[in-house]
Amino acid sequence: MFDFSLITTWFDSLLRDTLGLGDFLSILIECVLVGVIILAAYAIIAIVLIFMERKVCAYFQCRLGPMRVGFWGLLQVPADVLKMLIKEIFFVDKADKLLYMIAPFLVLIGSVGAFAFLPWNKGAAVLDFNVGIFLLTAISSIGVVGVFLAGWSSNNKYSLVSAMRGAVQMISYEMSLCLCLISAVVLTGTMQLSGIVEAQGDAFGWLIFKGHIPAIIALVVFLIAGNAEANRGPFDLPEAESELTAGYHTEYSGMGFGYFYLAEYLNLFIIAGVAATVFLGGWMPLHIGVAQVDTVLDYIPGFFWFCGKTFLLVWILLWIKWTYPRLRIDQILKLEWKYLMPLALLNLVLMTVVAALGLHF
């Protein structure tokens, strides 16, 4: 199996031994480089996702989607990004300027922070703590503050209603999101993301196979709650276009809006990525217990396994978004507090029983 740590150790020794740089300089260079790579990947994946969404939804709807800019419309999204970059950023009269400025960054921080946790390949996890899951959920919840501040500071009544909706919805759904992750932690016995992936390396070792019923329930609940957490349809109430025009980001233009837009798509990717990591084995190939087949599957780099699984989940979420109508705020909360959360709690108990009695595969 391709181990990305080969490259990282080579680069580290290049800086330290070959170039003879000290601890401070080599760590500084490495950190800056990793940061740049993360941000670049963040932007590129956003572009890919936006293009994917436009094409996928077009085919669901018997349309072609973007076709004019570049071959098969490939340059449409880069053109849109360019347009957004050169747009004027304006301020709203009587808005709370400071909060209005900070809000998009808070949303972005939450999402980039969570993004950095994704293990792309063996040895290619940027942040990998022993309390990784815990920190991941903590960092990703910063986004709520951004959404709330954006709506609050815009001095717009629609935005205010949307901010309240956003805060209520995101805080509620975080509950079942975390409960599902905890049930995975119960089964694997570790909170470290790389540890969770390593634990899924046996034959049919992915958690949905290993943890069977409780794991499948956890995955489904996780995807529903994650969809709500990322404010995607059918849970896109905070921006509910037909009700609140654009909700909390109504008053943003240019890159202010662009950040919200980016974060929305990346949150979708992160939800799918975390679900793929925790329940579908992340970069771990599917091992079926026959040595020859497993060896062949191991030749496919983990990066492709991870992206394949993640994009499959993204595609499922897109499918749901483009088919379902939007819920109402009380229905959304009822769904969470009356059904999903109790279900996730019971599921946690079930998972604990399964793990304690060794009823898993």
Partner: protein, 519 residues
């Protein structure tokens, strides 16, 4: 219908109207027509229907003093009268005693004069100042000595959270403004503001010749362009005693039903879009395209059809029309199933629609909410059944009614009506008889003196036309009964205590079209 008015005096008008309502069960106020009778004074014509026997009658009341014209209100008898009286007040300056909301409805609040009075001069009306909208309403009552007394009512209290939904809003389907008082997400009160696309169509008609007035009807409710013009043509033809050939009647019926199909498909699409289900929206638009193609070949228009004229049709049907319509019927029938699969059966949709925005049968009649909205509440109000015109008496079709009166019933009525439209078309399309498509009229059409009211079943209710002719080449007064105005006036009643998101579902299922409300 030629109108033979019951004439009431202003003094005993209120009691006589109450008698009509309670003793003779004229419980549906079709419309109130304000009119400047010239020497006689200003007055109103009330058209009433008994919803049991479908008998219609009209009442005329005249206030002789032009400067201080007043008539007692009937808004306590028919809830829909409140907004209709506001319209009359706006255009004629007739004050309705006891109506709690005597603000202008369509025109700016600083408009000077009353434009539908015959002595109105256009240059007086407009001002270039900023329009300060009043935040109070006026209620007038009569004092002992015969002078008017005005009382102010505040619209809002100081700590109301007021949010304007519209005039520019994706879910109002046009420039309607709903001033909504919110309590968190819950709606406490809605004040509709109309008139953002008011063009004075009725006033323009008074200066046009009869054939010229036809051009304006397609621009009222553009989704029932055919029916609007059908109603106007019918009223003129009835007044002049024109006998139509069967061919004209067949084609008009088919075209009306195609138009209804077009409108309901758009309804389905917009409904889905308002709820955020964009795939269903595209499905609706995709099939509407097929309907429009069928109509376009004959009429040349897709939105503005311009097809009927007084005495028949603009031109004969296209040679391929019959073939294409049959193909359309075959194509569209399996699609209805697809709509149900992708949208109607969806559990989220059912949760959003069932039990939401209930309009009871009594309220539907009282507000005059005709069309699918009324039928969803169990009110049998289909003009095609109650007052059959053209071929509707000879074809088999069901009047779709539900009893729930909620959003889901309103939605289902439209979907089922599409099936009925296809059924009607299929019965007629194969046997369109030969004959003239146009009965030749004189170059200048003069309608004999008298008053007529004719209505057709539009896409979203009864579209009626009242015509008062004084024997000239243009009408003395032409009044369209808007299908959407009663719907908008009922919104407050329907939505009080519901959530903002329900306002969207209710707005989508009421299916109003703004140019029809504003005229």
């Amino acid at each position: 219908m030629k109108l033979e008015h019951k004439i009431f005096d202003v003094k005993d008008f209120a009691s006589e109207m109450a008698k009509l309502k309670t003793e003779k069960h004229f419980d549906f106020l079709v419309t109130i027509v304000g009119e400047d009778f010239g020497e006689e004074g200003l007055g109103c014509i009330y058209i009433l229907e008994n919803t049991g026997s479908h008998e219609r009658t009209s009442v005329k009341v005249v206030a002789s003093d032009r400067d201080k014209a007043y008539i007692p209100t009937v808004s306590h008898l028919w809830k829909g009268a409140e907004i209709l009286e506001r319209e009359v007040y706006d255009f004629f300056g007739i004050i309705f005693l006891g109506n709690k909301d005597m603000r202008r409805l369509y025109l700016r609040s600083d408009f000077k004069g009353y434009p539908f009075r015959k002595d109105f001069k256009a240059e007086e009306g407009y001002s270039l100042e900023d329009d300060n909208e009043p935040d109070y309403t006026m209620e007038y009552s009569l004092k002992q000595d015969g002078t008017l007394q005005a009382t102010q009512h505040k619209l809002f209290t100081d700590d109301d959270y007021v949010i304007n939904i519209g005039p520019q809003h994706p879910a109002t389907h046009g420039v309607l403004r709903l001033q909504t008082i919110l309590d968190g997400e819950t709606i406490r009160k809605i004040y509709p503001h109309c008139g953002y696309i008011h063009r004075g169509v009725e006033k323009m008609c008074e200066e046009y010749t009869y054939p010229q007035t036809l051009a304006l009807t397609d621009r009222l409710d553009y989704l029932s362009a055919m029916m609007n013009r059908h109603a106007l043509c019918s009223v003129v033809e009835e007044a002049m005693g024109v006998e139509l050939t069967d061919r004209i009647k067949y084609i008009r019926t088919i075209m009306d039903e195609l138009q209804r199909l077009d409108s309901h498909l758009l309804f389905y699409g917009c409904c889905a879009q308002d709820l955020g289900a964009l795939t269903a929206f595209i499905f609706g638009m995709r099939d509407r395209e097929a309907v429009l193609n069928c109509m376009e070949e004959t009429t040349g228009g897709r939105l503005i059809q311009n097809y009927y004229r007084i005495g028949g049709l603009q031109d004969d049907i296209d040679v391929n029309f019959v073939k294409n319509v049959k193909k359309l019927c075959e194509y569209i029938k399996p699609m209805f199933k697809e709509y149900d699969d992708v949208f109607t059966g969806n559990v989220i949709l059912q949760n959003r629609f069932k039990g939401v925005g209930v309009l009871s049968k009594e309220n539907a009649i009282s507000y005059g909410c005709t069309g699918g909205t009324g039928r969803a509440a169990g009110w049998h109000n289909d003009v095609r059944k109650n007052h059959p015109y053209d071929m509707y008496g000879n074809v088999e079709f069901d009047e779709i009614t539900y009893t729930e009166g909620d959003c889901f019933a309103r939605y289902k009525v439209r979907l089922d009506e599409m099936r009925q439209s296809v059924r009607i078309i299929e019965q007629l399309i194969d046997n369109i008889p030969a004959g003239d498509f146009y009965i030749k009229q004189k170059p200048i059409i003069r309608v004999p003196e008298g008053q007529w009211y004719t209505s057709c079943e539009g896409s979203r209710g009864e579209i009626g036309v009242y015509l008062d002719s004084r024997g000239d080449k243009s009408p003395y007064r032409l009044k369209f009964r808007p299908m959407g105005l009663p719907l908008v006036s009922a919104m407050d009643e329907i939505l009080r205590g519901e959530k903002i998101a329900d306002l969207i579902s209710v707005g989508a299922t009421l299916d109003y079209v703004i140019p029809d409300i504003d005229r």
